[in-house]
């Protein structure tokens, strides 16, 4: 008996050979029908926009991004490096009061039944490569640092109220922020488990279109990528959108310029 | 122009008022209409039901009959049906090709190039939207699926209707939804077809129109059958019948199915 790999590959070659390879789009040479012959990539028409008409970080692009983010129920803030620490300090405790022991049987949605906060003051996790100036003003907030070398456990992450990360790139037209796991964005678990995600995006990181972002990310395709467009959501019940399921239920996007 | 008429099998046998109206209309616009007697059917029913081999002689007959258009015998072929035009354009050469009839497949493609659905012929080829018609009734238009998606006739039929004097065009809700006919679908999946028909009939009735029109008698036969069963009083009429109507020779919507039994829809010539 041949192994599955060999058999599947030969089935495919047989299937393509028997049905000649005219399936290739315009540009494919017809000679490639026989088994085992490496076919040249066919020409793919790429008439779509490879970039937007507005420059990254331009006012027009930012305006679109904000519109899309707000539409998907993300909270958007604009600030400067000078005011950023204070803004972050304000955002953390602001939401952390809602935190509850998620997973316990008496857990209820904050909208349904507010319960007493589990800890009087907020705790925030940050990836170790984050700009230290950002967290400098978070007086009264417990700041914990996570890294690949010294990761917090899932349970520990579940204890904190919020996470602050940077971002790799943002796409205006789709209201998307992409994290690529570098030291200022952290492990994927860090931006996932806490209930509030504060994501700081430099305005020069905002591009207009998806292709611009993909080409940028393609420089390091092996990095683990998380594309985030608003807080987690579901439309599984009568297609009615409910924001906030398993991922962070609150997404703050801080635009820094 | 010398225009060959492909009447379509269903209209020839069941709804002759549509091809007759095409003749009246085109002659009124100053064109000559010929009816090549060898024609029968475009083969769509066989193709869409999966009987491709049985479709071959039917398609061959159509191509043979209309081949003179490629030699300039006629300037164009007109078909008062979106789905038959679609089949001529998108299926005939495929059917012949599969049967290994390569040169006939090429001939089919050449005939198809010069074949037009009625609204296409009027608007694109003859360049008219106001055909000088008069039809003082409230009308709603159902864009049949094949006219809409296979041919992409767009708003040509509506433009023609809007130019008709006295005609009040009532917008149809969910207009682009299929009526559930689908040829043999209406028999093979009779219940599902009926459910779709019910919804279409309801939206037609909601328009308050006196007449339902479309570019295809097959769909009109289906919706018309539902309108009649429901006792709605709305009459189905082909687009050509409305465009053929003038003050001098008005076409009056008949009782059932444009009054085919009476003399009311007789198109005077």
């Amino acid at each position: 008996m041949t192994d599955a790999r060999t058999e599947i590959l030969s089935r495919i070659r047989g299937a393509l050979g028997s049905a000649d390879s005219s399936a290739g789009a315009a540009g494919t040479t017809g000679a490639a029908g026989t088994a085992g012959v490496t076919r040249a990539p066919s020409v793919v028409p790429r008439e779509y926009r490879s970039a937007g008409e507005h420059a990254p970080g331009s006012d027009a692009v930012l305006e679109v991004l904000i519109d899309r983010l707000v539409d998907y129920k993300a909270e958007v803030h604009r600030t400067t490096p000078k005011d950023l620490p204070r803004l972050l300090a304000r955002l953390i405790p602001q939401r952390s009061a809602e935190r509850q022991v998620v997973g316990s049987s008496d857990y209820r949605s904050p909208d349904v039944l507010p319960t007493t906060p589990s800890t009087p003051r907020g705790a925030v996790v940050v990836p170790h490569g984050i700009d230290q100036a950002w967290v400098s003003a978070m007086g009264g907030v417990e700041v914990r640092t996570d890294s690949r070398e010294a990761p917090l456990s899932a349970a520990e992450l579940d204890e904190v109220d919020a996470v602050v990360t940077a971002a790799r790139v943002a796409v205006a037209e789709t209201g998307t922020i992409v994290l690529d796991g570098e030291a200022d964005q952290g492990r994927r678990a860090v931006s996932l488990v806490p209930d509030v995600h504060v994501c700081v995006v430099r305005t020069d990181q905002v591009v207009q279109t998806v292709p611009e972002a993909v080409r940028l990310l393609g420089a390091d395709p092996e990095r683990p990528l998380t594309w985030i467009s608003g807080p987690s959501a579901t439309s599984d019940i009568e297609l009615e959108r409910v924001e906030g399921v398993h991922g962070p239920r609150t997404l703050h996007v801080v635009l820094l310029s | 122009m010398r225009i060959a008429l492909a009447a379509t099998c269903i209209a020839d046998a069941m709804f002759p008022q549509a091809p007759r109206a095409v003749v009246t209309l085109l002659e009124r616009l100053g064109h000559e209409v010929v009816f090549p007697a060898g024609q029968a059917c475009c083969g769509q029913m066989h193709v869409n039901t999966g009987y491709l081999a049985d479709a071959v002689p039917v398609v061959q007959n159509h191509v043979r009959t209309f081949a003179p258009v490629t030699d300039g015998e006629w300037d164009a072929v007109v078909v008062p049906s979106g789905s038959c035009t679609g089949s001529i354009r998108h299926q005939q050469s495929m059917v012949l090709e599969r049967a290994g009839l390569h040169s006939e497949a090429r001939a089919a493609a050449a005939v198809a190039e010069l074949t037009y659905e009625l609204s296409e012929l009027l608007v694109d080829v003859l360049g008219v939207t106001d055909v000088g018609a008069w039809f003082p009734h409230r009308v709603t238009y159902h864009p049949t699926c094949h006219s809409l998606r296979m041919l992409g006739v767009g708003d040509k039929p509506e433009r023609l209707l809007r130019a008709v004097e006295g005609l009040e065009l009532a917008p149809l809700a969910e207009a682009e939804g299929c009526c559930g006919f689908g040829g043999t679908f209406s028999l093979k999946n009779a219940e599902t077809s009926a459910a779709m028909l019910d919804d279409k009939v309801a939206t037609v009735v909601d328009t308050g129109a006196e007449v339902l029109t479309a570019g295809d008698w097959s769909c009109l036969m289906h919706i018309g059958g539902g309108l009649s069963r429901g006792g709605t009083g709305v009459r189905p009429m082909h687009l050509a019948e409305i465009l053929a109507s003038t003050r001098e020779s008005p076409v009056v919507p008949g009782r059932h199915g444009s009054g085919r039994s009476g003399a009311t829809t007789e198109v005077a010539r």
Binding site: S50, P221, P224 | N48, G50, T192
Partner: protein, 506 residues
């Protein structure tokens, strides 16, 4: 709930069908064969049509999503160019599939992943079960995946004592209700909020007893139910939306964050993927990440997309297995006309616009792949006789919205031709023989003008039974028509007889 009844005959489809009394919590049960279950399409459709609640649920849901899709597609100026590119990329993938799969394998392996190949469902299930057992756990968390639905993975794991927990909200609902998905994207589209509340209360041990049917509350109950499982699971199982050959990157597109949880928290990740899910280059993502979300959920972008390439030390699962699944796909590939069904990116837009799907729902198709795509994919995957190619009016709405431009109506016609030749080869049942004879006779009559002249006069005989210009009742098979609609009375004179008379007078 599945009891094996014995010999699986071609038309022996199991399961009670979609009509399992409205109001009952239990669904249609888990069938023996996820690609072939329940009654015939016309019968199952009929039952579904009789279920008013189902029709209301479906009608509301599909019209909502159609509107959303149309709005967000309308705002993309280069939508048609994106569709052209998407279609061409997929055509290219099929033409170069062996090389691209080998390239993917090389790149995944180079980044610390392990690639497995599975010829069929049984082999894929075996591979996954062995991997899970070796990780010493009896519970795995799962991200919604069509491929694992198709191979019945959950049932196979259950037989080995492994509980597979569906974490997508709709899949969870379907799983709790012992049901089958009825939509590719929204598997519980056939359920309304009250039914879902009742399912949770009855089947989810930790559901709050005073749970209401507010969607937000239901979603929060699911969050609470799954949270501990996410944080403690050792193994996760996922599908993949895309696999990039030139980098070895996999992508999962989702909304709720359950995907991120599964792809991030456990130590081991097992991804089961059909061999057709490939795209050649990382840059090709720029096409599909625009086409997919707008076509499927009608959003500009889905809330979360995760991409990973093998294993990233210190971040996410430290063990990654990729199972490449054939299970009939190479059969589809061998059919040049039907091959394009493999281009599908499972957006479900074709379901939402389909007038047949909208009325009968997903279960009538008797396959995990319902709707227009199911009608072309299922019969090709199984290679069996099927009535699904006829479950369409060929209205073309599916082709119009398909982001990768699969000409579904043309493939349906091809498959009908295949059905006809299959039944011609076998004895066929009476209906098949009647159809075939009728088509032969019609072909003869319609292949010649003179013969058609005579044939076209025949309907005139029906004038004898018409009243007020219509015929209200015909014997079988005409009754299939007149049961729901009148037939207009045929004319006294055919068109060509009129024409000749007119010519004579000239």
């Amino acid at each position: 709930m599945s009891t094996f009844l014995g010999m699986p005959a071609a038309r022996d489809r199991r399961g009670p069908g979609p009509d399992a009394a409205p109001g009952t919590l239990s669904g249609v049960g888990r069938p023996e064969d996820p690609l072939h279950w329940g009654a015939s399409f016309p019968d199952a459709a009929k039952a579904a049509l009789d279920n008013g609640q189902l029709r209301r649920n479906l009608g509301k849901a599909t019209s909502t999503i159609r509107t959303k899709r149309a709005r967000v597609v309308g705002e993309v100026p280069d939508w048609e160019a994106l569709r052209d590119a998407g279609s061409a990329v997929k055509t290219d993938v099929m033409a170069r599939l062996p090389e691209l799969l080998e390239e993917l394998e090389r790149n995944v392996t180079a980044r610390g992943g392990v690639v497995h190949w599975a010829r069929d469902a049984a082999e894929a299930n075996r591979i996954v079960a062995d991997l899970v057992r070796a990780r010493d756990t009896d519970e795995v968390v799962k991200v919604k995946s069509m491929a694992t639905q198709e191979i019945g993975l959950n049932e196979a794991l259950a037989e080995e004592g492994i509980a597979a927990v569906e974490t997508d909200l709709a899949e969870l609902i379907v799983q709790l209700a012992d049901d089958m998905p009825s939509h590719i994207l929204v598997p519980a589209i056939h359920r309304n909020r009250t039914e879902i509340r009742d399912i949770f209360l009855e089947r989810m041990a930790d559901a709050p007893p005073d749970l209401t049917d507010v969607p937000r509350e239901l979603a929060m109950a699911a969050r609470a139910h799954l949270r501990r499982k996410f944080l403690s699971a050792k193994v996760a199982i996922s599908g993949a939306n895309f696999a990039v050959a030139d980098t070895g990157t996999l992508a999962v597109v989702e909304s709720e964050g359950n995907g991120r949880m599964c792809l991030t928290m456990p130590e081991t990740l097992i991804t089961v993927m059909g061999i057709e899910k490939l795209i050649p280059t990382f840059d090709d993502l720029e096409v599909f990440l625009q086409l997919l979300p707008r076509s499927s959920t009608g959003e500009r972008m889905n809330p979360y997309t995760s991409m990973w390439t093998g294993v990233t030390p210190g971040d996410g699962p430290q063990e990654f297995h990729l199972v490449l699944l054939d299970n009939g796909r190479t059969k589809v590939l061998a059919d040049e006309a039907g091959r394009a069904a493999l281009h599908c990116i499972r957006c479900s837009a074709c379901l939402n616009v389909c007038p047949v799907y909208e009325r009968v729902g997903g279960h009538a198709y008797g396959s995990v792949y319902p709707g227009p795509i199911g009608a072309i994919l299922t019969p090709q995957l199984t290679g069996e006789e099927s009535d699904l190619p006829y479950a369409s009016t060929l209205c073309g709405a599916c082709y119009e919205v398909c982001p990768v431009k699969i000409d579904i109506p043309s493939i349906l016609v091809e498959l009908r031709a295949r059905e006809v030749s299959m039944t011609a080869g076998s004895a066929g049942d009476t209906a098949d023989r009647v159809w075939s004879a009728a088509m032969k006779a019609a072909s003869f009559a319609m292949a010649d003008g003179a013969r058609f002249r005579r044939a076209a006069r025949v309907p005139r005989l029906l004038r004898a039974i018409s009243r007020n210009g219509v015929i209200r009742k015909l014997p079988f098979p005409g009754s299939l028509w007149t049961r729901s609609r009148d037939l207009m009375e045929p004319p006294k004179q055919t068109f060509r007889d009129w024409w000749d008379g007119r010519e004579d007078q000239r």
